[in-house]
């Protein structure tokens, strides 16, 4: 017999990043349906959902509402780092856990968050370690003007500098802004080997469209490869043909050409992971997350999360978008997360960046 437990869902169905939240939301709901249909698991989930509508101020009150008014202790959701930071105080107050299923910039390890996707040592660093020797050392960064864009550029700058490369430019535009003339002009003048694109949503699609125009000009047919750690299959339709050739890094890409990408898949896997952690252990849903993970070892399930930093071990896959599908270029075996980039910073690349010159 299954016991039924409430779980929360806190994903926006409208607003700036609705396309991403939509993919994550479908992943959660698919995961719930699969768990509920799985007779080998003794838990079933009932979804308690709130829609923040992409408005930052709504996350904390709605998170509180779920934790206060329902039995749910585990909430799946949040896309932006800002919204994640908003809900953490509520999780602390009510003893809740956020299952966060999208990539982020690292430098956090809350005891109330299950970081299920990837952080920079699992996406950005492997991506640059592939790009610098393969594409060239002239880099250009463009990002949305908030923590994701800033921190990705900062880490990338360190990495490019260590490889004796040049950062030709580093530009930010407001979230949602599509006025890109100055950036395109700069790229035309500087001709970088690659562009790290940390723009989100409409800004990103507008940028890709303008860059595709530039690439049709004489002399720009090669180079200008776009790299991203946040572009997945769930944005292919919005970006259209202009995204062709983009190289992305992430823990999972659609093998059959689906449209949800890792935003969908990791959300789905997160629901399964919680079900496995709770299987055969009535009452375990109220345990602190680290205890839930640590004590699961005895029940025969190997948890996806590191019991100390509560980040998932993930492979780093680098893939290129061709004809609307990501094709794998390189795959690193599952790497432990290093959210503060203090451990095994070197483990993710296979040739040393410094060579002895004789």
């Amino acid at each position: 017999m299954k016991r039924t437990l409430d779980i929360g869902v806190l994903l926006s169905r409208s607003g700036m990043y609705a396309a991403l939240a939509y993919a994550s939301r479908l992943g959660v709901l698919q995961g719930v349906a699969e768990v509920n249909a799985d007779r080998t698991l003794d838990v079933a989930f009932r979804v308690v959902e709130r829609d923040p509508e992409g408005r930052l101020d709504r996350y904390a009150p709605l998170c509180r509402e779920i934790l206060r008014d329902s039995q749910a202790r585990h909430i799946f959701g949040c896309i932006t780092s800002a919204s994640r930071k908003e809900v953490i105080p509520e999780l602390e107050r009510f003893g809740g856990v956020l299952w966060y299923p999208v990539p982020y910039e690292g430098f956090e390890a809350s005891e109330h968050v299950a970081y299920m996707h990837a952080c920079p040592n699992q996406h950005l660093i492997p991506l640059l370690d592939w790009a610098l020797p393969s594409l060239g050392k002239r880099a250009y960064f463009v990002g949305s003007n908030y923590i994701w864009g800033w921190e990705m550029a900062r880490i990338a700058r360190e990495r490019v500098a260590a490889a004796a490369g040049d950062v030709l430019g580093d530009r930010y535009i407001a979230v949602g802004d599509t006025d890109l003339d100055h950036i395109i002009q700069e790229i035309r003048a500087l001709k970088p080997n690659f562009i790290l694109n940390s723009l989100v949503g409409d800004s990103s699609y507008a940028f890709l469209a303008r860059l595709a125009e530039l690439k049709r000009e004489a002399g720009f047919e090669s180079g200008l490869t776009v790299l991203s750690c946040n572009f997945t299959e769930c944005e292919v339709e919005s970006a259209g043909r202009a995204a062709e050739g983009l190289v992305s890094a992430g823990p999972w890409f659609e093998p059959e050409g689906g449209s949800g990408g890792s935003f969908h898949e990791i959300a789905r896997q997160s629901v399964h992971e919680l079900a496995k952690l709770l299987h055969g252990r009535p009452g375990a849903d109220v345990l602190p997350l680290s205890e839930l993970v640590q004590s699961a070892a005895g029940s025969g399930h190997t948890p996806r999360l590191d019991p100390t930093n509560l980040h998932a071990r993930q492979p780093a896959i680098i893939a290129r978008l061709l004809n609307g599908r990501f094709h794998e270029i390189k795959r690193l075996p599952p790497l432990a997360a290093d959210p503060y980039l203090t451990r095994q910073f070197e483990a993710s690349h296979d040739h040393p960046l410094l060579k002895v010159v004789s």
């Binding site: 990495r159 503060y340 960046l353 410094l354």
Partner: protein
């Protein structure tokens, strides 16, 4: 390749000077997550703590004798763990040389920021100290420079000529103006010592 490691915290050693207490658990956990090696001590820091990269110390029950160095003289960044905000306790924590602080009970928040702020403040204080020492040396050297200029003036040069001569001398000897002045003054004193009798005769 340490240069590319973000802030170089991996493998750094932090000592926590606090009696065993649940309020410290969050700090120990978070330091481990960040990648530091954590050592605990109470009631005194052992001498080997001198080699630590960071010290976290209890501001509530702490006192000067717990540290193997004088107040404010720690050879590494120090982070005060503050429970009571009574002015007396805060003053002691500052006098010990807090480069940053954390409030009790310590959680997963603020630890990384405290490490970076403490190291930045420590580094700034250290470089300021070095600049101050250098300026003090130069200040005391100024008197010597004036005396060296006066030697040339006594030999009939104008003040401007005297300064120029001192500058040329320093260049010729490939030393700083201060060092050149010191040598000139020393030589002059020696000559004067030998000449003293004759000068008196002349007078």
């Amino acid at each position: 390749m340490t240069g590319i490691r973000t802030e170089n915290l991996g493998g750094a050693t932090a000592w926590i000077l606090h009696r065993p207490h649940p309020s410290v658990q969050g700090l120990i956990r978070q330091l481990g997550v960040i990648g530091l090696v954590v050592r605990e001590a109470w009631p005194e820091l052992p001498a080997e703590a001198i080699g630590a990269d960071f010290i976290f110390y209890d501001a509530d029950m702490g006192h000067d004798e717990q540290f193997p160095w004088a107040a404010g003289q720690s050879p590494m960044p120090m982070i005060a763990l503050i429970g009571s905000e009574a002015p007396g306790r805060l003053r002691w924590a500052m006098e010990m040389g807090a480069h940053a602080q954390l409030l009790k009970p310590m959680s997963d928040k603020g630890v990384y920021a405290a490490l970076l702020v403490a190291r930045s403040n420590f580094d700034r204080a250290k470089s300021s100290d070095a600049i101050i020492t250098d300026l003090q040396n130069r200040l005391s050297a100024r008197q010597t420079v004036v005396r060296a200029v006066m030697i040339f003036v006594m030999q009939g040069k104008t003040e401007a000529e005297a300064y120029d001569l001192l500058r040329q001398t320093a260049m010729a000897w490939r030393v700083t103006i201060e060092t050149a002045a010191e040598r000139l003054v020393a030589n002059h004193s020696n000559e004067r010592g030998n000449d003293d009798g004759r000068r008196i005769d002349l007078a």
